[in-house]
């Protein structure tokens, strides 16, 4: 533990983060809405706090170590989540309580997309832009977390990706490697955002909406500047664009990196996680569309196909855009879609959930168990692609799965203790922990009507989900603080 190093990094992060409050202020100024002041205040407070933290520790030049990594990763989301709430809490319209502001800010930074604000369409543009920007920034953080930090921390079996991470490999020194990886991946992220925004604009959105939606699409966030989310436009072309970019953003960014460097699509085709990801979404979409068609929900195959496909991709990748009130869809569909969000996006993407690669490993392990029952004396290896997977990785994935289920159940029971019914509690935890966004029951449209305790619990769920459960939990073990 090196408190001084951590202090320096947090200070720097806060100072950098404070500048992100200036673009919304500029948006407010351009559109002439009342919402400029809160952003300037937020900027000054955040910058000031950052300076105070950084200044005394500015000359500390020691390297970050493994354990510091856990604290930095957790405090990145917690501290930025809290400071990010400042402009939202200060703004006169919408008039949010501290709880609501923090919920909204954490929901943005973890790219969850659950909102407590009703009446998005009449909000000042600056606030709307800020929410989208929070998701986009959160997405940047997540890519680095997922591709560079978690594999090195060895959380939940992600050491699997240690060798594949772009950039130089030096296990002990975090900083140079993370800087290198970050630069490469952010270019891709930025490029995807621009492409997505352009496509939206060409498909018929105005400039503001195109920028706003592109931010929350490539970050797999799901915030929208309209209450009706993607359904506001009622435009199949826009939905098609969204589907393509959600699919891309839910794939491992390491793959994008290799595909671009080699100028070939082969990295995608050869990657068994990507193939599983695609298959899961295809099956999910087929079931959804088929069931909608059989029950005649929209009364025509065209509409069933359009809404079914969109919703399956949006929820399967844990984005959370909606084109239709899916929580009122017939039969098992709402539950199926919520369950699918547990699988989530690929490792190394901005998606949430337990991640496709872990799901794949669980399935393969289950298959191996069946083979072992029939042939008890044979040796079977679990393989990803052509490489056998280390037993340690498999253990870690199992541990992750169990911790995920246990954390989920505890938060769900706690929510029910605050008076929520079971459907609402279950889907609210699923929506938050999988960083999905919309739930079922009374959180089908938004989270505004929950009690404050429930909102704080859900903030916790979003953080636990985003930090892959073990990263925050490890801070609570006595072993961590022992030297």
């Amino acid at each position: 533990m090196q408190p001084r190093v951590i202090q320096r990094i947090l200070g720097l992060l806060l100072m950098v983060f404070s500048f992100t409050m200036l673009p919304p202020a500029a948006v407010g100024w351009i559109y002439g809405d009342i919402g400029v002041r809160p952003f300037l205040d937020g900027f000054l407070v955040t910058l000031g706090t950052g300076l105070i933290l950084w200044w005394p520790a500015r000359n500390v030049r020691r390297d970050l170590r493994l354990r510091d990594g856990f604290i930095v990763a957790v405090s990145f989301w917690v501290v930025l989540g809290l400071f990010g709430a400042i402009p939202l809490a200060l703004a006169a319209h919408p008039h949010l309580s501290i709880t609501d502001a923090v919920f909204e800010s954490i929901s943005g930074l973890t790219t969850t997309g659950a909102t407590v604000i009703v009446g998005l369409d009449v909000l000042p543009k600056s606030i709307l832009f800020y929410r989208q920007e929070l998701e986009w920034l959160g997405g940047m953080g997540i890519i680095v977390l997922a591709v560079a930090v978690l594999p090195m921390l060895g959380v939940g079996g992600m050491q699997l990706y240690r060798a594949e991470t772009p950039g130089p490999i030096k296990d002990a020194k975090l900083t140079p490697r993370i800087a290198e990886t970050a630069k490469a991946l952010w270019y891709i992220y930025l490029g995807m955002t621009v492409a997505c925004g352009l496509a939206y604009w060409l498909a018929g959105m105005d400039v503001f909406d195109a920028v706003a939606y592109s931010f929350s699409t490539v970050s797999i966030g799901g915030f929208a500047p309209h209450d009706a989310s993607m359904g506001y436009f009622n435009n199949p072309l826009i939905e098609a664009v969204a589907i393509v970019f959600m699919l891309l953003a839910g794939a491992n960014f390491g793959l994008h990196f290799f595909a671009i460097r080699r100028r070939s699509l082969r990295p995608y085709l050869e990657d068994s996680e990507f193939r599983t990801y695609f298959t899961v979404l295809a099956v999910l979409a087929a079931i959804t569309v088929g069931y909608l068609y059989l029950t005649g929900h929209f009364g025509g195959f065209g509409d069933d196909f359009r809404h079914g496909l969109f919703q399956a991709v949006s929820i399967g990748t844990t984005t959370g855009f909606t084109t239709s009130a899916y929580h009122q869809w017939p039969g098992f569909l709402p539950a199926l879609l919520i369950f699918a969000s547990f699988i989530g996006g690929c490792a190394g993407s901005t998606g949430g959930g337990i991640k496709v690669v872990r799901f794949l490993l669980l399935l393969k392990q289950g298959g191996r168990e069946l083979m072992r029952l029939v042939h008890p004396n044979a040796q079977f290896a679990v393989k990803i692609g052509r490489r056998p997977v280390d037993d340690r990785v498999i253990d870690a994935v199992w541990g992750f799965f169990a911790a995920y289920v246990a954390t989920f159940s505890i938060i769900m029971l706690a929510l029910m203790a605050t008076g929520l019914d079971q459907v609402t509690a279950f889907s609210a935890v699923a929506a938050c922990m999988n960083n999905l966004g919309p739930g079922l029951g009374s959180v089908g449209e938004n989270f505004a009507n929950l009690n404050p305790i429930a909102k704080w619990l859900l903030c916790l769920a979003m953080l636990f989900g985003r930090l892959e459960v073990f990263t925050p939990l490890v801070l609570f073990t006595p072993g961590f603080w022992r030297r």
Binding site: A335, L362, G366, L370, V374, W398, M416, G419, Q422, F480
Partner: protein, 482 residues
């Protein structure tokens, strides 16, 4: 090649032997003159014939049973015996095949979920027959859990191979199972006798005492009254049930060792038993305190009476109720449904995932934390003083993951049949864990759900009882290949 002749032979014998048990309710019918006696005799004859038809052509086969046939026999044992047990239900209370099959499976897997709406009006012999189904099911489960599953290595249960009473020979199933069965059934019968005496002394009439005694020891949960244990309003009777549910939720091998050594040390030194006690203690405390804090019951005595009973009945997956817990405040109903997922000890008649598996999962998680902090350290997972082999650990993990996935799958199917979320969640919890008590639409019985839902629940009960993999392995092509 699968040795079908040997499979037929043993199943035929089992069915023929089982048919004899239908004569007991016939006797009960004569005793109470409820007019059902002939129906049971008919059922007996049909069942006996089926058994003989299966057995006679292959009676002299020399094929030895192997491990591999075990999966098929175990699965067919539960399916076929459940199917023939439906016969008496056709006559009275006139259940159709769906309901009758549900009722039989529920009895045989010691689930205790019922499709009969008004139990108090059902003939005595039928009530007795249901209790007997539970009890016989329990006998089968003890052998399954202690002797068969460890041999088949399902879900990491090879862990208990060394502890199983009886000689150790991996490939020949029969002698070992016979020996184990005899030792454990003596205990089972003895404890049932004590339980019946206890109920009778505490004020039940003799008939009720026998029926509840059967259902309690089997952690079954079929009752002779609609109100289940609420019928007697007696804390004393509830307390006796508490004790016997607690005992039958423990590993029967422990009872065996404790009796043979004449000491209680076997219980204290067993890591699973300790966690089992701790888990039940903590759950009772939580439920009782919540009941008091929410002013559901005014006195501590009442809260403890109801709280302890409901916790024990769901943890051991018995499924009795002594009060309407479905209307308990806040998270309690859902919590109880979740406790059933943990379930009782391995080697008992209880359902659920089993304490030892959850315990090992927790240990593994703790190891993960330590591995994250010390990536290069070798940290073994231990149960008691024994280091667990990697195979057992991975088998248990697969079991837990399969449990969760199959649970969600059943829930989706039930939602598809038109059930609401709460009812579907509770129905799967009740059936898949072989627990029996549900919430919502299935709060008091399973009579009013659709036929599709009933079949789904019946399958859930069977798959849960067969610890998933026994059944799943039959679906793999590899199993049938030579």
């Amino acid at each position: 090649m699968m040795r079908f002749a040997a499979v037929r032979r043993i199943l035929g014998v089992l069915i023929a032997a089982y048919s004899v048990t239908m004569l007991v309710p016939a006797g009960v019918a004569l005793l109470y003159r409820d007019g059902q006696a002939l129906h049971f005799v008919d059922s007996f004859l049909v069942t006996l014939t089926i058994g003989l038809v299966m057995w006679l052509p292959v009676r002299s086969t020399q094929q030895e049973l192997r491990r591999r046939e075990g999966f098929l026999i175990v699965t067919l044992y539960w399916v076929i015996l459940s199917a023939v047990s439906t016969l008496p239900f056709h006559f009275s209370p006139h259940l159709d095949f769906t309901d009758a099959f549900f009722e039989s499976v529920s009895g045989f897997t010691t689930t205790g979920a019922t499709t009969i709406v008004n139990l108090d009006k059902v003939p005595k012999s039928i009530l007795y027959y249901r209790a007997q189904l539970n009890w016989l099911g329990g006998m089968g489960i003890i052998v399954l859990a202690i002797a068969v599953l460890p041999l088949l290595r399902v879900g990491g249960m090879q862990l208990f191979k060394a502890e199983t009473p009886g000689p150790m020979k991996d490939e020949k199933l029969t002698p070992r199972i016979e020996h184990t069965a005899r030792a454990l059934w003596a205990i089972y019968v003895g404890m049932t006798g004590l339980c019946i005496l206890g109920f009778w002394a505490a004020g039940m009439n003799f008939f009720d005492a026998v029926c509840q005694g059967f259902a309690t020891m089997a952690t079954g949960g079929f009752s002779t009254h609609n109100a289940s244990f609420g019928y007697w309003h007696s804390p004393m009777i509830s307390a006796i049930a508490d004790v016997f549910m607690f005992l039958s939720g423990m590993n029967f091998a422990l009872h065996y060792i404790a009796l043979r050594k004449g000491s209680l040390r076997a219980y204290w030194t067993d890591p699973e038993a300790r966690v089992y006690v701790g888990f039940i203690g903590a759950s009772i405390t939580l439920v009782t305190l919540t009941l008091l804090l929410t002013h559901t019951y005014s006195s501590f005595g009442a809260a403890l009476n109801y709280g302890a009973f409901q916790v024990l009945t769901v943890v051991t997956c018995t499924g009795f109720v002594n009060t309407d817990f479905t209307h308990w405040p806040v998270f309690l109903p859902a919590l109880l449904m979740m406790l059933a997922i943990v379930g009782g000890s391995a080697g008992s008649t209880a359902g659920g995932m089993k304490v030892v598996r959850v315990q090992l999962a927790v240990k593994q998680c703790v190891r993960e934390f330590r591995r994250i902090l010390h990536p290069r350290a070798e940290i073994p997972v231990k149960l008691g003083r024994n280091v667990l082999p990697e195979r057992v650990v991975s088998a248990i993990w697969s079991f837990l993951a399969a449990y969760v996935l199959v649970y969600l799958l059943f829930m989706l199917i039930l939602l598809g049949t038109g059930m609401d979320w709460d009812s579907a969640f509770a129905a799967v919890s009740a059936c898949f864990n072989n627990m029996g008590a549900g919430l919502g639409m299935v709060g008091s019985n399973f009579a009013h759900i659709s036929d599709a839902a009933k079949w789904t629940c019946s399958i859930a009960m069977l798959v849960g009882r067969l610890e998933i993999f026994t059944f799943l392995v039959l679906l793999t092509p590899m199993y049938w290949r030579r």
